[in-house]
């Protein structure tokens, strides 16, 4: 995976004057957004105070030096006093050292404070993000979240570290210099102050306009990167069709766009830097001319004139800094808005209410839950919660598969009963439900296969069980307890899933398999790998220590599926959810894996999505999902015999009408 499209400054030495960062249009709540960073800054208030003091000492030392120069010229040189010269020279060295030391202190303290603040916010953000419901993540690209955790956070770090301190010091520096200048010569001082002040506006405007261009360049670079990614991933298609030239043209268009924006940036930058040189120099020219007259009129000493010039040069920095600070403050405010927007999102799927407050009548004894350890690392030690008496079991008698007679058997058989009662689900914001009126019951230890065409809602139904999404209506019950009344950790310890599109992480095979149970002993891992037919993992270059995932060894689709399957098996769940777990496995391995899986499933309640007859055979019963409702329930052979839609789904042969045109022999299943 590449993390492009997100422009992260990987520079570990942060330039204090970074030339251009992304910026969104400012909003009126900038100040409010910045204030929200406050709590993160508060623990570092002593450090901030130290930084500010050091900065002020540094500025004071810096400003004193021109005054020393004045004394050298007007005192020591004019009156030939060598002794004074030695004293002044030493004083200059002393002040210079003070400036350097206070700089050192400021930067040192600043470094620890801002990096710690950044670390804290990033850690909090990550922790918050991974607890938000998957529906949230569906609507956000991970790249967008990442840019908040990196680019936006850097903007805040820069402002928290440099912005606040620099703002105060540059205002004070500007004021102090102008006062000193006025004291040296009032009219020349005032004039200088007035000439410099408007430059702040120019600098601020430049920074803003420049950031808009930078943003455009970033967007263009993101677009081009997207195309580059596509062209790299689709290289075989491009080559197979011989579309090299067309692809090159499309790429060149994007690259040319970047070129134009970058040249615009260079032009703007050139003008700005020229102006930054021009302004102070012009002022010095003015001071030289007018100051000389002032000297002639004895309104200013020669040393005073030199001090005036050197002091005036010290105005350049606060003005330049002010433009930067104002722009970066705005940038930090936008960044803060973007970050707090995420913090303000509340997880929509949370633990059930604590015991005693349970409103659901069907689970009055959910009090068993607090005794369950909060993070059961080894699920097999987990006591199945006390099954409450559920006389009024859900499920309308008329709907297929509604027999709940075995609801209380879970203790006796060691299995868990899973029941769907009139479940409906619709995506938020979408009209209409994807699933409607699903009523199903899985007896302990039994396996139910879900079959249905693409888009019939099978995968969605599976995701409702571990509460990756919540039902819109109806309920799902585990041994009679509504899953929304269970703590999430407890529910998810009892339910494990393997999805068709397996998610592997850039970590060792061992870590990937022991994903939900980091403390699992090696024997369990070995057993899970064996059950999932994933012994190939031992043959990888470093065995189970081999890193897989995007940043490691690349595995075939079938291999990935088997690792994900081992992960689900390892957690020894009460309920196993498998979403076509062997779809990418080749035919021979599939047969072996199916046999091994059948053994695992004997004692586990399981819900399995299947596309192929071979996987369907894992189930005791089959439920046909069609257009979001259960169309039929029965055994495979029953459905094959009586349900045309099911036959259609499971056999390759065409409808009779089409078959007439077939000159070739067809194969019929069964």
């Amino acid at each position: 995976m590449t993390f492009r499209g997100v422009a992260i400054s990987l520079q570990s030495v942060p330039p204090e004057r970074s030339r251009g960062q992304a910026r969104l249009p400012a909003q009126e709540t900038s100040a409010a957004a910045l204030r929200r960073i406050g709590p993160y800054l508060r623990p570092y208030l002593p450090q901030l105070a130290v930084m500010l003091t050091a900065a002020l000492v540094g500025v004071a030392a810096q400003l004193a030096i021109p005054l020393l120069i004045k004394s050298v010229i007007d005192g020591a040189i004019a009156h030939d006093r060598r002794g004074l010269l030695i004293a002044l020279g030493l004083a200059a060295i002393g002040l210079g050292t003070a400036e350097a030391v206070s700089n050192l202190i400021r930067r040192w303290v600043q470094g620890s404070a801002v990096t710690a603040i950044e670390k804290t916010i990033r850690g909090d953000l990550y922790a918050h993000m991974q607890r938000l419901h998957p529906g949230f993540h569906d609507s956000w690209q991970s790249g967008q979240l990442l840019s908040r955790a990196t680019t936006d956070l850097s903007a805040i770090r820069r402002f928290a570290g440099f912005g606040i301190i620099f703002f105060i010091t540059s205002v004070l520096t500007f004021a102090a210099v102008v006062i000193l200048l006025i004291r040296l010569n009032w009219w020349l001082g005032l004039l200088t102050g007035c000439v410099f002040a408007p430059v702040v506006v120019v600098c601020t405007r430049f920074e803003r306009r420049y950031r808009v261009l930078s943003r455009r360049a970033q967007d263009q670079q993101g677009d081009l990167a997207t195309y580059i990614e596509e062209a790299a991933a689709g290289i075989r298609v491009l080559k197979a069709l011989g579309r090299r030239r067309e692809a090159g043209r499309r790429h060149a268009e994007g690259a040319a766009g970047i070129y134009r924006t970058q040249v615009d940036k260079a032009r703007m930058l050139g003008s700005f830097y020229a102006l930054l040189d021009l302004m102070p120099n012009a002022v010095i020219g003015m001071i030289l001319l007018l100051g000389a007259f002032a000297v002639g009129w004895h309104e200013l000493t020669l040393g005073g004139l030199v001090a005036f010039i050197t002091l005036a040069l010290q105005l350049v920095w606060p003005i330049e800094a002010m433009g930067y600070i104002l722009a970066s403050g705005q940038e930090a405010a936008t960044a803060a808005q973007r970050i707090f927007e995420l913090f303000d999102t509340v997880p929509a799927i949370t633990d059930g209410p604590p015991a005693g407050e349970t409103a659901t009548g069907s689970a009055p004894e959910a009090a068993a839950t607090p005794e369950i350890p909060e993070t059961p690392e080894t699920p097999e030690t987990l006591e199945t919660p006390e099954t409450p008496e559920t006389p009024g079991s859900p499920g309308s008698p008329g709907s297929p598969g509604s027999s709940l007679a075995g609801a209380r058997t879970s203790q006796a058989t060691g299995g868990t009963q899973l029941a769907f009662a009139r479940v409906a689900f619709g995506y938020p914001g979408a009209d209409g439900n994807v699933l409607r009126d699903i009523t199903l019951s899985l007896e302990p230890g039994k396996t139910l296969v879900l079959a249905g065409a693409t888009g019939s809602g099978k995968t969605t139904l599976l995701q409702l069980v571990p509460r990756l999404a919540d039902v819109t209506a109806g309920s799902i019950r585990l041994d009679g307890t509504d899953i929304r009344d269970l703590p999430l950790d407890v529910l998810r310890a009892r339910v494990a899933c393997a999805f068709e599109e397996p998610t592997l992480f850039s970590a060792s095979v061992r870590e990937n398999v022991a994903f939900g149970a980091p403390e699992a002993p090696s024997e369990d891992i070995a057993a899970a790998l064996a059950a999932a037919q994933a012994e190939f993992a031992y043959d990888l270059p470093w065995g189970l220590d081999t890193r897989i995932g995007e940043q490691g060894m690349s595995l075939s689709g079938g291999q990935r599926q088997r690792i994900a399957l081992a992960r689900a098996i390892l957690s020894r769940p009460d309920v196993l959810l498998l979403d076509d777990p062997l779809s990418a496995v080749d035919v021979q391995t599939e047969a072996r894996a199916t046999r091994a899986l059948a053994r695992v499933l004997t004692h586990t309640t399981a819900l399995v999505v299947a596309h192929r007859p071979s996987t369907v055979l894992l189930g005791d019963t089959v439920a046909l999902l069609d257009g979001g409702v259960i169309a039929a329930v029965g055994t495979h052979s029953e459905l094959m015999a009586s349900v045309p839609a099911y036959r259609d789904l499971m056999t390759m042969s065409d409808e009779p009408g089409d078959a007439k045109n077939e000159p070739l022999p067809r194969i019929r299943a069964g």
Partner: protein, 607 residues
């Protein structure tokens, strides 16, 4: 890294570590020279402008000194404003010259740099498009992408973040040094004495910051991987209650990055004040010693003032120089990697002089493998394959994983060239055909069914860029994709989403069939084109296939024998050699044959 056992072990990417060398290797230098070849004039102009700007900047303090020494005395003595006005006028001229030169060189350098970057982008893209599929298999798309994004960006950042400032800093350092020696060499030597500690400090900083920089990059990359993988795999994370373990891991990685950035911060926290300290001490010494020299009458006050003003210009750029070192190093490493990949010759080269194929008589062309041998690295996959596919025949290639089926297909599509022997199309060696001619005749469809973001029409048009809307829609109809396409909001103009994500696998495959149909090749290769589809989708595609194949020559590879059923002929491949060959019916009848057994086990899977 070994402190984190959970990450596991992986082979280091070979191009990452070799690139640490700071100095440009000859290959990089050649590439750079080549890129700049067309812009010699602009390079010279830019440098000239920088020199002018630096000289003008140097003249300012000098003129201030002259103004004090020669302009003020006549004014104070007898009110003569002439010399002062002359100096001020000269000063004004240098200010204007400096501003104009600065503006011009920044712009000129920007254009120069962006030209180079644009050229580099185009070259890289074209190069990767030209490289063979075997190269891409090996190099992986991740690296193809980072060469063209982060590496190009590193070079772009160097130009943007101040290659110009770097040049002007060095230049002004030299010029100011020379100027001071010229003005008053004893005082100049005092200033230059400060150079010793500066060089030492900068060397130390450069070394340390290179380490810190690398650590920072490595540690932020780990943070990013963990972050992105957690968020993209959020369902697995939550379903397996991974949050606490993830908090631990992320905490560890976040701390690693914290340590690295703290270290960088502290380096600068020491280095920058140290430079300031050296500068300030020198200023104190100049003030004292310069004052003495003025009192002794060796120099005038104005010269002392010029020195004091110069000192600022002398020490400030040094801080920048050290900062730029990192971007300089990053750009050097990037250029090294880029020049390395650009130096790789394509393994499937274009012919020096191409041969024209005879005109197509029917729908297809004949294909012949003549004594073809091919292997990946040391491993031989196909050994002396002889195979003739008459024009218009549909042949199915079956066999176990690793039998060499895909290799045969890829040789026919000329994704690879055979090590020995020839692959002939209507008697012409594929190596003698130029790429556009070959691609017009031979098209391969795989299970990847990759779609580009854009509309359905855009994706179908990829088969024939000149096709108009009617042609595109009739291709859709011929394939049987018309029904689902028109039911989508927007129809043919419906956006397929990133990599076709808004369509199902079956729908994507139909679009890719329509694409191939529009390309109207003589030879069509289907490599596992239907394996990932569910049965209704596969059935839909099967129907489309019959239209597709028509009179074309076709080679079909499939695990699932249902796809094989439409073939005129079946070839069973094992270990790169043909073990059975004949019409499906006959092979099925040979009940102890390989094909019959495969067929049986497949059927029992359906039962």
């Amino acid at each position: 890294m070994t402190a984190q056992p959970w990450r596991g072990v992986a082979a280091e990417q070979r191009d990452e570590d070799s690139a640490a060398a700071a100095l440009l290797r000859s290959r990089s230098r050649r590439l750079l020279g080549d890129l700049l070849a067309g812009s010699r004039g602009r390079v010279a102009l830019t440098f000239a402008l920088i020199a002018i700007a630096s000289l003008a900047a140097l003249a300012g303090p000098w003129l201030v000194g002259i103004g004090i020494d020669r302009g003020i005395p006549p004014l104070s003595r007898d009110g003569d404003t002439g010399p002062l006005l002359a100096v001020t006028a000269a000063f004004a001229v240098t200010v204007v010259v400096q501003a104009i030169a600065t503006r011009s060189y920044i712009y000129s350098m920007g254009r120069l740099g962006e030209r180079v970057v644009l050229d580099l982008r185009k070259r890289l893209f074209a190069h990767f498009q030209l490289m063979s599929v075997s190269f891409h298999d090996d190099y992986t798309s991740g690296r193809v992408i980072s060469r063209q994004t982060s590496d190009v960006d590193a070079i772009s950042a160097l130009f943007e973040d101040g290659l110009d400032s770097l040049v002007s800093a060095v230049l002004s350092l030299l010029l100011v040094g020379a100027g001071m020696l010229l003005l008053d060499w004893p005082l100049g030597l005092v200033v230059l004495a400060g150079f010793g500690p500066l060089v030492w400090l900068t060397a130390w900083f450069r070394q340390e910051s290179a380490i810190a920089y690398r650590r920072g990059r490595e540690s932020i990359a780990l943070v990013i991987v963990q972050f992105v993988e957690t968020m993209t795999g959020i369902r697995a994370v939550q379903a397996f209650r991974r949050q606490r373990r993830n908090d631990e891991i992320f905490g560890e990685l976040n701390s690693g990055y914290y340590d690295a950035s703290l270290r960088s911060f502290r380096l600068v926290a020491v280095y920058a004040p140290a430079i300031t300290l050296v500068g300030n001490v020198i200023t104190g010494v100049v003030l004292f010693y310069g004052g003495l020299r003025v009192i002794d009458g060796d120099i005038k006050v104005g010269v002392l003032v010029t020195f004091l003003l110069y000192l600022r210009r002398f020490f400030d750029p040094l801080q920048d120089l050290a900062q730029f070192y990192n971007s300089f190093q990053a750009a050097g490493a990037a250029l090294e990697k880029i020049s390395g990949v650009l130096a790789e010759p394509p393994s499937v080269p274009s012919p020096a002089s191409s041969v024209r194929l005879p005109d197509r008589s029917g729908g297809g062309r004949s294909v012949r493998f003549a004594g073809v041998t091919f292997g990946y690295r040391a491993e031989s996959v196909i050994d002396g394959l002889d195979l003739e596919l008459p024009a218009g025949q549909t042949t199915a290639l079956v066999g176990t994983t690793g039998a060499g089926k895909t290799t045969v297909a890829r040789l026919l599509a000329r994704f690879y060239d055979p090590d020995e022997g020839r692959v002939l199309l209507d008697g012409v060696d594929l190596r003698d055909l130029d790429d556009p001619a070959l691609r017009a005749e031979v098209v391969m469809i795989t299970q990847e069914n990759f779609l580009f973001s854009g509309t359905i029409a855009d994706n179908i048009r990829l088969g024939k860029p000149t096709a108009d809307r009617a042609e595109i829609e009739s291709a859709g109809r011929a394939i049987g994709a018309d029904e689902f396409i028109t039911s989508l909001p927007g129809g043919y103009d419906a956006d397929v989403g990133k990599r076709g994500g808004r369509l199902s696998a079956g729908q994507r495959q139909l679009v890719s069939f329509a694409r191939a149909f529009l390309a109207a090749p003589a030879v069509l290769i289907l490599d596992e084109a239907t394996s990932l589809l569910d049965i209704p989708a596969e059935r839909m595609v099967q129907r489309a296939l019959r239209t597709m194949l028509g009179e074309r020559t076709a080679l079909i590879i499939a695990h699932r024998l249902s796809t094989v059923e439409i073939a005129d002929r079946v070839i069973v491949l094992d270990g790169g050699r043909i073990v059975q060959d004949g019409p499906p019916g006959r092979l099925l009848a040979a009940s102890d044959g390989r094909y019959a057994r495969m067929h049986q086990s497949w059927q029992s899977g359906l039962a």
